[in-house]
Symmetry: C2
Subunit: 385 residues, 2 copies
C-alpha cells in the first residue's frame, strides 16, 4: 500500500492474512459546505460529531460500525492530502491505512487505486467501499446486510447496497432491481437519476427501487478488471503504480495517476456501464445526514422537539422558552466554551455556533447554507471557509 | 457632597460658582433584565452601547447630551454601590460626582438626598433629574427644552418634561396638561397611569397628554420643601445627613437614611401629591430604549432592515441572505471577538451575543427576555445574571 505518510507494517500484516477476509475503503473527501459553519474545507462533514454520532465524529462512527465485520487493520481511508493530518488524528489507524489523494478526482480513481493495492496480494478479497459521513441506526443490521453483499460479491459480481426508501426523496439517485438472485440479493435493472416528486412516489410504492447510498461491495480483482475495461485510459497509470509498489518511486506514480486521470464517479465510470450487478436491499435506519435539517431529525430532542448539543455534552443547559423544534449545535472550541444559548418564542430554527461564526437558519432552508459559503468565497473570507 | 469614594475638590469648586447654574442628577440604578444577555446585575442597561448610542454607553451619551447646558463638574450620578466602580470607569467624572446608594430605594430618596446636598450651598440652583438610559435623537432640542424647563422651575414650580407622544403607547404613564402658563410651559392637570389601547389613542389625538419620561426640573430648595412636606418621615434622617455633612459621620447617616426610609418613586411620593406643577412638552426624538425591539428601531439598518453591530464597529461584516428586519448585537468580549454571524431566511429576529450567552428571540417578543432571567434565577445561574 502506498505510504505518503508512514510505515506499512500494519498493512503488511493484514495483507498476509486470510484473503477471504473483508477489506473496507472509507471515502473521506468532502468539501465541507453543507454543514457550515461547523464544516470547513479543512474540517469537512465526516470529521464532525453530527446528530446521533456525537460525541464521535461521523468517520469514527463509520469505522466503528464495521467492527466485527472488517478487521481494524483492513480498513483503508481515502482522503485528500489536506485532510490527512486531521483524519489520522480522528481515527488513529496505522499510518499505512490512509490513501492520500494528491488531488480530488471523484470516486473512481481512488477506488481503482485501492482495488489495485488490495489485488496485489489478495485478488479474491472482498472490498466494501462506503462513504465516511453516513449514519446507520441499526449497526448490527448494517453489518448483516454488508455480509450478505460480501457473500454475493465473492461470486464475482459487483454488488451494491440499495437503501429501502422511507419517503419519496427527490434528492437521491435510485437503483432499480430486476430478478431475485437468491435470498436478499437481486440483479440490478439499472441506475436512475434523481426523480421528480411523482416519480419518486411511484418508486417508493413499487418496492423495486432503492436509494443509491454509494456503498459497493466487490472482489478486488473484479473491480480492477471493470476499471481496466470501462476506464481504459487509467490502466497504464495504475500499472505504473503497481510496478513501483513498495519503492521510492511509488508516490510519484500515484501523483501522475491523479494528475492525468479523469475525474469521474464510480457510479458513472463503472456501475452504470456494467450490466452484471447485484443489489442487496438494506433497511438499517440509514441517513446521509445531508443538512442541518437531517441532523435535527436524528438528534435526541426534548418534549418540545428541541435538540441541543449542550443537553448531551455538558451541564450548561440551554434555555428554551416557548421554543419548539429547534436545533442548537456548538462545534469546535465553541463546544468547550459552553456559551449558554437561550431561544425564546422561535420555532424550526437551526442555531449553529462555532468559535468564529454563528449561523441562524430555518431548518426547512438548511440547504441554503451553501449560499453563505458562496458569499464568503465572493468576499474572500478564507478564514471562514 | 458625600464621598464614599474619593475627595470632593471638584464638587467644592462647583459649589462656589454661580448658584443660577444648573445641576444635573443622572439616575443610574437599574436591574439589568430587559437587555439580557447584554445587561446583567453588574452591567445594567445604562452601561451598554445600545442602539444609536453605540459605541458610547447610554449613560455616557446622557452625560454628553447635557454638554453646554450643565457644566461637567455639576453633574451628579446616583447609582448603587455595586455599580459604582463600573459607572466611574464609564464616565470618569470627579469622585465627588457619584452618589452611591447603599441600597435601592427607588427614586425619591436619592433625589431627596441630592437636593439636600445642592441646597446646602445653592438653595436656588436649578436641578435637572433624568434617567441615565434614555435616548434623545435631537440633542440640541433636548437642551433647549430643558432650558425652558429650567427657566420655569426657577419661578419656584417643580417642572416636568412631557414627551409629545408619537404612538398610542400603553407602556408609559401620561401627564395631562392644563392651562398654558406661558410659551412652551403648561400647568399639570394630573398624572395618569398606563392606559389601555383605546384610551392611549384618545390621549395621543387630544394633544393634551404627554409621556412621563421621568425628567424633572426644580430648584433645590423647592424639592427639599416638597420632600419635607409629602415624605415627612424622611426629614429627620435627611437633617442628620446635613448635620454631619463633610464629617466622618456622614456616610453612616446616609446609610441610616437608606436603611430606614421608604422605597418610593418621586412620581408617587411627590409629583402626584403636588397640585402646583409645570409641564414642558418636548419633541426631541425621545426613546426609553425599553427592549431589544426599540434598540432595533433606533439602530442604523441596511436596505433589508437588518441592523448589525458589526457593520458599525468592525470590518467583520455579518452575512444576511434572504434575511429581513433583524437585529444582530454583540456586546462585551463578544464584540471584540467579532464572531461572524450569518442569518439566512429569517425575519424580525434579535440575535444577541455576549461572551457567555446567546439569545435568539423575535423582535415582537423581546419583552419576554424577562422570562429567561426568571428561569436563570430559578436555576441559580448567578453567573449569567
Amino acid at each position: 500500500m502506498l505510504l505518503p505518510c508512514g510505515d506499512d507494517s500494519a498493512q503488511s500484516a493484514a495483507m498476509t492474512s486470510n484473503s477471504r477476509e473483508i477489506f473496507a475503503l472509507i471515502l473521506a473527501g468532502g468539501s465541507g459546505t453543507r454543514f457550515w459553519p461547523a464544516s470547513r474545507r479543512l474540517r469537512p462533514k465526516q470529521l464532525l460529531p453530527l446528530g446521533p454520532s456525537a460525541p464521535l465524529s461521523l468517520i469514527r462512527s463509520t469505522a466503528e460500525r464495521l467492527s466485527g465485520l472488517v478487521a481494524k487493520e483492513r480498513i483503508m481511508i481515502a482522503t485528500g492530502e489536506h485532510l490527512l493530518a486531521a483524519t489520522q488524528t480522528e481515527l488513529a489507524l496505522p499510518p499505512g491505512a490512509y490513501l492520500a489523494e494528491p488531488r480530488a478526482r471523484n470516486t473512481a480513481p481512488c477506488i481503482a487505486w485501492a482495488a489495485r493495492i488490495v489485488a496485489r496480494e489478495h485478488p479474491d478479497a472482498v472490498m466494501v467501499v462506503l462513504p465516511s459521513d453516513q449514519h446507520a441506526q441499526d449497526a448490527e443490521e448494517f453489518r448483516r446486510i454488508l455480509s450478505v453483499a460480501a457473500d454475493a460479491a465473492s461470486e464475482g459480481t459487483i454488488t451494491t447496497i440499495g437503501i429501502v426508501p422511507t419517503r419519496p426523496e427527490i434528492g437521491y439517485g435510485y437503483i432499480k432491481r430486476a430478478a431475485r438472485h437468491r435470498e436478499g440479493v437481486y440483479r440490478v435493472a439499472g441506475f436512475v437519476e434523481k426523480p421528480d416528486r411523482a416519480t419518486a412516489q411511484r418508486y417508493v410504492e413499487s418496492g423495486e427501487y432503492f436509494w443509491n447510498a454509494g456503498i459497493f461491495v466487490f472482489r478486488a480483482r473484479d473491480m480492477v478488471e471493470k476499471i481496466d475495461t470501462h476506464l481504459p485510459e487509467m490502466k497504464p497509470l495504475l500499472d505504473a503504480i503497481d510496478q513501483h509498489a513498495g519503492t521510492a518511486g511509488e508516490i510519484e506514480k500515484v501523483r501522475e495517476f491523479f494528475d492525468r486521470c479523469e475525474s469521474v464517479s464510480i457510479d458513472y465510470g463503472v456501475m452504470e456501464k456494467t450490466s452484471d450487478l447485484f443489489v442487496v436491499p438494506g433497511d438499517f435506519g440509514w441517513s446521509d445526514l445531508g443538512s442541518w435539517e437531517s441532523a435535527w431529525e436524528l438528534s435526541p430532542k426534548d418534549a418540545q422537539g428541541n435538540a441541543s448539543s449542550s443537553s448531551r455534552a455538558s451541564s450548561n443547559g440551554d434555555v428554551f422558552i416557548s421554543a419548539k423544534n429547534n436545533l442548537v449545535e456548538r462545534l469546535g472550541s465553541a463546544a468547550e466554551n459552553k456559551k449558554m444559548i437561550a431561544l425564546v418564542g422561535v420555532e424550526d430554527l437551526c442555531v449553529i455556533e462555532t468559535d468564529d461564526a454563528l449561523l441562524v437558519i430555518p431548518r426547512s432552508r438548511s440547504q441554503e447554507v451553501r449560499q453563505v459559503v458562496e458569499e464568503l468565497q465572493r468576499l474572500s473570507r478564507t478564514d471562514l471557509l
